[in-house]
Symmetry: C2
Amino acid sequence: MTDIKILLSEDEIPTQWYNVIADMPNPPAPVLGPDGNPVSPDALMAIFPMGIIEQEISSERWIPIPEEVRDIYRQWRPSPLFRARRLEQLLDTPAKIYYKYEGGSPAGSHKPNSAIAQAYYNKQAGAQRLATETGAGQWGSALALAGRMFGLEVLVYMVNISYQQKPFRRSMMETWGATVVASPSDQTESGRKIRKEDPDSDGSLGIAISEAVESAATRDDTNYALGSVLNHVLIHQSIIGLESKKQFEKVADYPDIIYASCGGGSNFAGVAFPFFADKASGKEVRLIAVEPSSCPTLTKGHYAYDFGDTAGLTPLTKMYTLGHDFVPPGIHAGGLRYHGDSALVSQLYKEGLVEAMAVGQLRTFEAGTTFARAEGIIPAPESSHAIASCIDEALACKQSGQAKTLFFNLSGHGHFDMAAYDQYASGQLEDFDYPEESIKSALESLPKVG
Amino acid sequence: MTDIKILLSEDEIPTQWYNVIADMPNPPAPVLGPDGNPVSPDALMAIFPMGIIEQEISSERWIPIPEEVRDIYRQWRPSPLFRARRLEQLLDTPAKIYYKYEGGSPAGSHKPNSAIAQAYYNKQAGAQRLATETGAGQWGSALALAGRMFGLEVLVYMVNISYQQKPFRRSMMETWGATVVASPSDQTESGRKIRKEDPDSDGSLGIAISEAVESAATRDDTNYALGSVLNHVLIHQSIIGLESKKQFEKVADYPDIIYASCGGGSNFAGVAFPFFADKASGKEVRLIAVEPSSCPTLTKGHYAYDFGDTAGLTPLTKMYTLGHDFVPPGIHAGGLRYHGDSALVSQLYKEGLVEAMAVGQLRTFEAGTTFARAEGIIPAPESSHAIASCIDEALACKQSGQAKTLFFNLSGHGHFDMAAYDQYASGQLEDFDYPEESIKSALESLPKVG
């Protein structure tokens, strides 16, 4: 009988991360300061350690993974690649469906892949404390775990709507010893400003980033850690795709289409970019970023220079954006509620080398429930975006009779999202479509640079 | 570098379960009917399929695992055995600590090991529906998952205090398609009787069992499934210890002491009994059942014939019991709130072949938090009972300088228990000690048979 889990041994954990910049047809657009000139790496030293800055600006294809980082990865990595045979049976599709499962990490998602690395480089550089933001709580949990592993204090600004909807993510972070505050908070200028305008603000990733950056910039012992978007985060997450490639080799298969949910881009890039290396060498493989229709950054945003945060504290990045002051509706896939997207993902999308599609909230919960009933694992609502698109293609294969090989990353489990499943099951969930009029106002909100 | 996860391949999943009866020095005490005479297997046919009854009365050492059951086990089995190197470092102990991790199952605990098997035999026998009870929600989740895998309806009576404390366990069961009602309910005679006396009853496993048994006995299409206590459940759970033995062989080690939390006994028996086989052949190994001091069945109960449920619908079993009408305090380790214990565990304990100890609630949460901060995984409060005792021994080893090999089963994760961790962290949790005067009243409540 064929194994349904394609496993690797601990010594097969990659020893190098992959950097997609080495294989991009064009160099990344420069990151700009408020004056419109490229930002120097030194300017980042107030909030990042040098080990991280070097990775952020590197164009080397391979970046060594420190042994101390691999050593912690070994606690749950390599993660399994599953053949979704029960889902295939249920859909009665000739397509082969595979998924990589990142929910087995102690934090329950792919986020520790970068959190562990970031905590390591910060510890090396002598930082005592990390400030960060979190949407659904997945990144905050990951950094709380990582900080604990390296003896660093962790301060998490948690998007208010998630703080309310997911109190147990907060408890999880606190169990690992982190301090968690709802954002916008009264602890920062950025937070106080928003609260003055809207005391009941749901918050957003953009606002929480402003608070965490401000907190790091104003304290010498504190650095900032970001869970997505930036190049170094995408580099760390490449471990997902690198392992997946080894796993596909073991079963002598290769995906035709790869699906991954996409908010800031770390999950999509993590699984897809190592396959982009093959695509750049002429291999046929489609890479599809799946985003919520309520926050359709790639599919409806503008490709322009914008701030990464709401208060405008970050440098300007050329990316797909809905405007840095866009506050997405309080959908349950909190990890995907971000106005912008990774510069690298954006550039490759602009150049037609990766694809994107948007899925509504109800469809994602329908797909997540279907998946749970077939495969057992209850997926995070973020991951269900990829599942929905993959199921649609598998059903199209049924119509066409094509036996495509489909692959998605199951980025995390939904154990902290059961209230949302409950609302879905009882008919209380809504779809939010991005209002067309917002497209124009987003354009007007963009900073005048670049 | 040595691997920290000791893994087995899917083809190393055992092909036979182990039955401890074959190695017990004395045959099990007979199960009695209300008339004091041994119950015939036929009497169980109203609520169990023949495949299960055969296992319940079997004295064969090895019971074949059906290929259909192994095939579903493969979704998450073999489960990893971890060397707890970070915990060892934190405790600064010369002891070696290992733990088997059962929280990687889709339901998050060891319970699917039996649920999958029970669903299989029921499906084979033509049942359409399974009724069961659940305490913390772990067993109910497992049966909801298993029912879905074999196309059976599942009805779960969930202990009211857990239904209130753990709404997300309910959502999890419903996501897999099960129907969940708070127990005591108004759907059964047994439930209505309790509610009449105490409309706000916290419920107990004993009450919920009465409801589920009544529900199965009164409908032809419905069978009953129990998550612990009975011999067949212990047989199914032996897969934990059988895999562990193979894993210890791979690292050429063997435990001196095995710890497992003990409510009805399925977790303890599952990991410990396969090692009992070695003990019966002269090998030195200590097997310790760890129970809550608020519900100290083995350490303070009476060894006597008693009912397995509160209403007295079950046959009489000779076991350690706190009296079938004992309602334990609403501690957070809901899976351990049971007045009785497995007949086999009880008999071996009575004969001095296995040991038992009791731990208070606060100590278990302290140990669970220590474990989470060292190893990453946040344990279920049930599992933390074993962790607490293991940590105590590791610290004793530090004093004595002994390098013992300690092993415990991490039966599940704590993702659905974060409210309890939150209460612990904010100082709102209490210890409940079993009141001494209850010992006498328990004795008086015992049925006059046997």
